[in-house]
């Protein structure tokens, strides 16, 4: 098993009037090579689940095991050896004041010790250029430009590349196309699918777009109020339609489904 989440409970502001139970005993087993789409309404706990895996905070109870190693109490930086992330906000994944090549150089050492060797090495530049060329955005000629100069879509594509330069055991994507316009969003999604397939990555992708959730990945998980309420994979998932998801979703909310709703919110 690549990732085992067992009975994860996570409160925010525990014991105060603002107490929120963000994860209420969520369990999930992710196999090597699984590409899991995660859907659910606002506040369902999707981001909290991914943040728990990444180690932004420790769960109140439950365990997180990656490739047989219990990482529940590991700090975020240590888990970077196993996983990489792309955030919803394009600004979060790259260092704005650093150049493109510096960002790539940092990503190419994910999980390794930083030494006093030169940060960007000559021989690396050629590799960076080749890898940037695969994005087809012309970034290969802009190695020395600051990442802060790039558009949101370009930055997100760069982050995607950075997240997969060193092959991660698990790739975490949290609404990573939500801040982009529809066309750019589709491009980044295609890039995501392509990279995940080429490298046979294990990935978890949160999205609000049910079409995306159905098209991408071999597995689909729906969350509600901090729990996983639906988990389908393989052929069963292939047969799934937006309407099925809608019905399922409004059933747990105690509402009836009406056709004009296209997004899970």
């Amino acid at each position: 098993m690549m990732l085992s989440l067992t009975e994860i409970v996570k409160y925010f502001h525990r014991g105060s009037v603002n107490e929120v139970l963000a994860l209420n005993g969520a369990s999930l087993e992710v196999k090597r090579g699984d590409f899991v789409s995660i859907i659910g309404s606002n506040g369902a706990g999707k981001s909290t689940l991914l943040n728990c895996v990444a180690g932004c905070f420790a769960p109140d109870s439950g365990s997180i095991v990656v490739k047989g190693t219990d990482v529940t109490s590991w700090p975020e930086y240590k888990r970077a050896a196993y996983l990489s992330r792309v955030f919803q906000d394009p600004l979060r994944g790259t260092c704005a004041s650093g150049t493109i090549e510096q960002n790539l150089a940092m990503a190419s050492r994910r999980g390794k010790r930083n030494t006093l060797a030169m940060g960007v090495k000559k021989r690396e530049r050629e590799e960076f250029r080749e890898q940037l060329a695969t994005l087809k955005l012309g970034l290969e000629d802009r190695l020395k430009d600051r990442a802060g100069l790039l558009s949101g879509g370009q930055r997100q594509a760069l982050t995607m590349l950075m997240a997969t330069m060193v092959r991660p055991d698990i790739l975490l994507l949290d609404e990573h196309t939500a801040a982009l316009d529809p066309k750019t969003s589709a491009q980044i999604l295609e890039l995501t699918d392509q990279i995940i397939h080429e490298q046979h990555l294990t990935a978890m992708m949160v999205t609000h777009n049910m079409q995306h959730a159905l098209e991408l990945g071999n597995r689909l998980v729906m969350m509600h109020q901090g729990q996983i309420i639906l988990d389908v994979e393989g052929d069963e998932k292939k047969k799934l339609q937006v309407q099925d998801l809608m019905e399922r979703f409004y059933a747990v909310r105690g509402e009836t489904y009406s056709d004009d709703r296209a997004l899970l919110v």
């Binding site: 990444a54 700090p75 975020e76 930086y77 240590k78 970077a80 050896a81 990489s84 992330r85 955030f87 600004l91 979060r92 994944g93 790259t94 260092c95 704005a96 004041s97 650093g98 510096q102 150089a105 940092m106 990503a107 050492r109 994910r110 999980g111 390794k112 930083n114 030494t115 006093l116 060797a117 030169m118 940060g119 960007v120």
Partner: protein
């Protein structure tokens, strides 16, 4: 301004230049406003003065002073990252504590180094006058440190430190322990500030527990003057700018002190006010410019 005042300003600019480079590291690289410097500057002075009067070689005394400064900065970093105290407050706490510690180090609030060998002695033995020897030696120190910092900030480790100040989330997800980076970076910064204090004490022949008052403001003013007049497009340029800013700041101060407006004269005690106003102006100028541009 007399030649004498000019050389004096140059000498001060170089001696305080190392402090300014330290302030640049925390303020600009780590985005960590660090007031520890008001305490670590006199700490460097005190440590080196005590070491020298105990027969330690003046150059070795500089290294001991740097060690002391590093520990002081690391304590601030620790308070901030591990005990979750706001960076400004953490640095104020260390600064206040250093006041007591510095008096303990010296055994009294101030001490003189009259008659002792200092780092300047070898140059004076070559026949240089003190007003030439000091700027030469201190600028040599600054240039060396600028070169070392340019190199350091281009290494893998240095890049990770830059990223820690810019985007902590990003560099954490690359596997860098940002707590360590901050503790080390603030330590390194204060090691430079303490080195600066040690040189100043050896140059003026005395260490005083109050000599650090206003260090942070002078440091910020120097950094900002350098950025404005020299620019900061690249790290290399920004570091050189910080050093030049230190000299320009001391020249500006010397100029202000020599100026006369009718019966009004600027006295040294006015300098903190002038510097504070200068920093406020420099910090708000870019925002005002933006507002006018709209």
């Amino acid at each position: 301004m007399t030649t004498y005042a000019f050389l004096g300003a140059l000498e001060q600019g170089c001696a305080y230049g190392l402090m300014v480079l330290g302030v640049y590291l925390t303020f600009r690289v780590l985005d960590f406003p660090d007031l520890t410097v008001d305490g670590s500057l006199p700490m460097g002075a005190a440590v080196s003065a005590v070491a020298i009067t105990n027969g330690v070689d003046p150059f070795v005394a500089l290294f001991i002073a740097m060690g002391g400064g590093f520990i002081a900065g690391a304590v601030t970093g620790f308070l901030n990252t591990k005990l979750k105290i706001l960076h400004l407050l953490a640095s104020i706490l260390t600064m206040i504590a250093l006041y007591s510690i510095n008096i303990r180090i010296m055994g009294r609030p101030n001490m003189t180094l009259l008659g002792q060998d200092t780092v300047l002695t070898p140059l004076l033995n070559l026949g240089l006058t003190p007003s030439v020897a000091a700027p030469v030696l201190f600028s040599g120190f600054c240039i060396l440190v600028v070169i070392l910092l340019i190199w350091f900030l281009h290494t893998e480790f240095g890049l990770a430190m830059l990223a820690t100040g810019d985007n902590r989330q990003m560099i954490t997800s690359q596997g860098v322990n940002t707590d360590f980076m901050i503790i080390f970076g603030v330590g390194l910064s204060n090691a430079l500030v303490a080195l600066s204090g040690a040189l100043i004490a050896q140059n003026q022949g005395a260490a005083d527990v109050n000599m650090g008052v206003g260090t942070i403001v002078a440091g910020l003013a120097s950094v900002i003057i350098g950025e404005t007049l020299v620019g900061c497009r690249t790290i290399t340029r920004a570091l050189i700018a910080a050093f030049i800013g230190s000299i320009l700041y001391r020249l500006a101060i010397a100029f202000a002190l020599s100026a006369k407006l009718g019966a009004f004269r600027v006295t040294p005690s006015d300098l903190n006010l002038i510097t504070a106003i200068l920093v406020v102006a420099a910090l708000t100028a870019p925002k005002l410019k933006q507002r006018w541009a709209r």
